[in-house]
Amino acid sequence: MSIEPGERRAVIGPNGAGKTTLFHVVSGVLPATHGRIEMFGTDVTHMATHRRIAHGMARTFQITNLFRNLTVQHNIVLALQGLETGTKMTMFRPLSSYKQLLKRADQLLAEWRLGERRDALVTELSYGEQRAMEIMLAVCQKPRLLLLDEPTAGLSPAETVAAAEIIRGLPRDMAMLLIEHDMDVVFDLCDTMTVLHLGEVLASGDPAAVRGNPQVQEIYLGESLEV
């Protein structure tokens, strides 16, 4: 499978097809048993996760994965200092003295309309706000490739629309792989679509064409799809 810079590709398939596993292998959480992974020309197959991130990858998690015992602001600060070696290794300067860093965090929070929740613990946010923060943490570092794992899972219809707005508004030069079960979101946001079945690619290409593929309809889309 290959995707172009700036391409927005959906990855769909029944449960157990291997979608999240694909993300784990691409991001380095699970080792690849065979094959290669190349990112913008660099072979990352044997690189540790944090080094792939440094090469411009970012991901969100299916189950919200925030820092539960920290404030909203500290969550963002951790994302911002993640790739700044000088800062994150500093032990003998208080964090409060990093005015620029803290200001950037506050600016980002304001942009995402979470400014007022800056000092709240993330566990106090609504589920929808937490899912938004999932995406926020990932895009903080301005990645070139973003892996979104079911960003709208568990969201109400209104929250889903808001999340789709956020994703649509992300930089157009950011390549995106989007695991989703909500077909409306997929057809709304994505240029191309890949269908996985039992760990293999079943069909790939223009969403409308893939939708029309009888094999795909049989294993996944079925009658729930309105044509």
């Binding site: 999240t20 784990h24 991001s27 380095g28 959480v29 540790a48 996760t49 944090h50 991130i53 440094a54 970012a58 991901r59 998690f61 189950i63 994965n65 925030l66 820092f67 539960r68 015992n69 920290l70 404030t71 602001q73 500290h74 600060v77 951790l78 994302a79 200092q81 993640g82 790739l83 800062t87 994150k88 290794m89 500093t90 032990m91 003998f92 300067r93 208080p94 964090l95 409060s96 990093y98 800056r118 000092d119 709240a120 613990l121 943490l137 990932a138 570092q141």
Partner: protein, 337 residues
Amino acid sequence: MNKVRILLGAIAFCVVLIVLSRALSSYYLVLATRILIFAIFAMSLDLMVGYLGLSSLGHAAFFGTSGYATGLLALKVSQNLAVDLGVAIIFTFGVALLFAALALRARLVYFLMLTLALSQVIWGIAFEWRALTGGDDGMPGIPRPTVFGFHLTDSPSFFLFAGGLFMISAGILLLIVNSPFGLTLRGIRDSRSRMSALGYNVWLHQYIAILLSSIFAGLAGSLLAYQNGIVSPTQLGVVSSAEALLMVILGGAGTMVGPFVGSIVVVLLEYLVSQHTERWETALGIVYILVVIGAPKGIYPPMKAAVLRLFRRSKPLTGAELEEVRVPQWQPAEEQL
């Protein structure tokens, strides 16, 4: 946490130390010194347990190794405090380089078991190597050090010496946990997978944190050797590790102040129990169970929350205060991918 308040707090603490050094009898000064020494030990462990989320039952490995190293140096090599203390801590750091590398090969409860096993190996070496360490007879006769011309043989001066080192240790540890590195550790505690996904080399940060922790545990161990005048395998044993862990949990993991409170409670408890029975370990075990079931967050966070509410009334707590009074359970939850 502005500078004026920190300075005032430090001065106030100094005053308290000086007053206590005059007011308490020799017997109670020994107890108070023991509290300060174990507070340093417990605070060093809190860096691992409360901030990094790595529970360890092997911290006495650093505590005892440094004690033995200090004892050997003071008895056989040199009377120079800087040499005895410095070399002992450096040696302990060397042990930590290996200890941490081995222990970090495991996660969660397996990490805990590895730390226990590794510290027992060190305990076994001290116990068996009678020629070097005196075995279970211990190594008696360790002379008190001389600092700036003062020979610290009496209780008040040694108490102040320990107090000074306590303040320096607490100051450095508080600086570390409030730095970007400290925030990184707390991030790792809350979600290793998230941290990797943000570009952090999780293993490296954990390794460095354990090394830092070993330095202060070593300092505490050296102080105990000086105070007692004798080192025995007990200082390396699992009961020492367990006492420190209890101080951290009972006081409140992840706060740095909690372990200090924990040290006061546990040392005094040990003193009280020893007046009536020899079964201190039994009592320790019972208290352990009660604390983990009844007050797993410790006693300091709820106390601080109550005090803050009293003085703040309607004004909301700051982010840092919220994080502190709602510190996590001492055992991190199993992570999901």
